[in-house]
């Protein structure tokens, strides 16, 4: 091989090797904070949802004796307070948040009845969105702009999807939900 070709071959090999060393995609890893103040703890964590730019992670955890909703600030590596959202007699699951973190929807099982709740972080109030629905519900999700909420309901003996307007608290009108 000519010296010139050797140089080109060396450059090509080096570029291939460097490409293989790319740091992304990168797993941050389930780092554990035994104090219970971090993202992961000595107890199970579930249902993570990551916010815009990875700025926060919403999830559930058993770390306080009941399944609660937690909001983790990834920039400042600390949990944010959610006053009035969790309670000892409630099993909360499947949280979903708007992009600004103001609105959080989740299911809460209270005394054997599960409903979809909407929590406002500014007023620290929550509203039962499915109080009038006499059926089981699951997997709520809210759009990033906070306008729309969708969830599962099994009124017909199977899971169907319902779509609600967050402002009115009622189903979106004129949406063809039923099968033909």
């Amino acid at each position: 091989m000519r010296p010139r070709h050797k140089i080109f071959a060396s450059i090509w090999l080096l570029s291939v090797l460097l490409a293989g060393c790319s740091a992304y995609p990168r797993f941050v890893g389930p780092n554990v904070d035994p104090s219970g103040g971090g993202l992961n703890s000595a107890y199970p964590e579930a249902d993570p949802q990551v916010g815009p730019d990875g700025s926060f992670i919403l999830f559930t955890s058993d770390r306080r004796g009941s399944r609660d909703v937690f909001l983790y600030d990834t920039k400042n590596t600390r949990l944010l307070d959610l006053p009035g959202l969790n309670s000892l007699d409630t099993l909360s699951e499947h949280p979903s948040s708007s992009a600004d973190g103001k609105w959080i929807v989740f299911t809460a099982d209270r005394q054997g009845t599960r409903d979809v709740y909407v929590y406002n972080r500014e007023t620290q109030q929550q509203q039962n969105l499915t109080q009038s629905l006499n059926t089981d519900v699951s997997n709520p999700t809210i759009s990033a702009d906070g306008s729309t909420i969708a969830f599962e309901a099994n009124a017909g003996g199977q899971w169907d999807i319902l779509v609600y307007n967050r402002v009115t608290g009622r189903p979106i009108e004129n949406l063809p939900l039923a099968p033909r």
Binding site: R26, P48, V50, G54, S138, A144, A150, E152
Partner: protein
Amino acid sequence: MVTRTLRANVLPGVPATTTSKPSRRQRLCAVTALFLLSACGGGPVVSSRATLNSRYSDEQPSLSSNGRFLAFVSDRHQRREILLYDLQAQQFVSLPNLRGLTFLPESPSLSATARYLVYTSVVRGRSEVQLYDQETQRPLSLTATYDGLVRRPSVSPDGRYVTFETSRRGQWDVEVIDRGPEVELDTPATPTR
């Protein structure tokens, strides 16, 4: 009469009176073609004003940032699949290659304009977190070499970060993937559709 009308539409210059009944061979070919086309199953049929729910299970909804697109898991086409519904146009959006390249998909999650779709799919008996890009129309595994079970993934609105549940430590924990600063971000200012 129907045959005559269809033939007249396809070949306007040909008098309708020249049409004849299709032969047995032509009918066989037509039936075979219809069977093969139906077996392709290249995703949901984009129709005018389709209903969101079916007579089968429709579950695990995920909304795009402005609430226009809704991804969910459905059993309506005899095989579990992820469907994307446009709530504004009230019709399904085609996701080329997704149905054929995913097996038992679960937990879909959408980025801001629904460009990125993250979900789990079973590969060789093991669940993987995959990312489908509507630009490339191909799924990409994010956890092919990951050590541990994975479930319930979620993608950030911009598409850069993905979280999921991991069993790596022997219990369910939260794992985060940073796809890096080089990925094309999905922002509402640059909608893909």
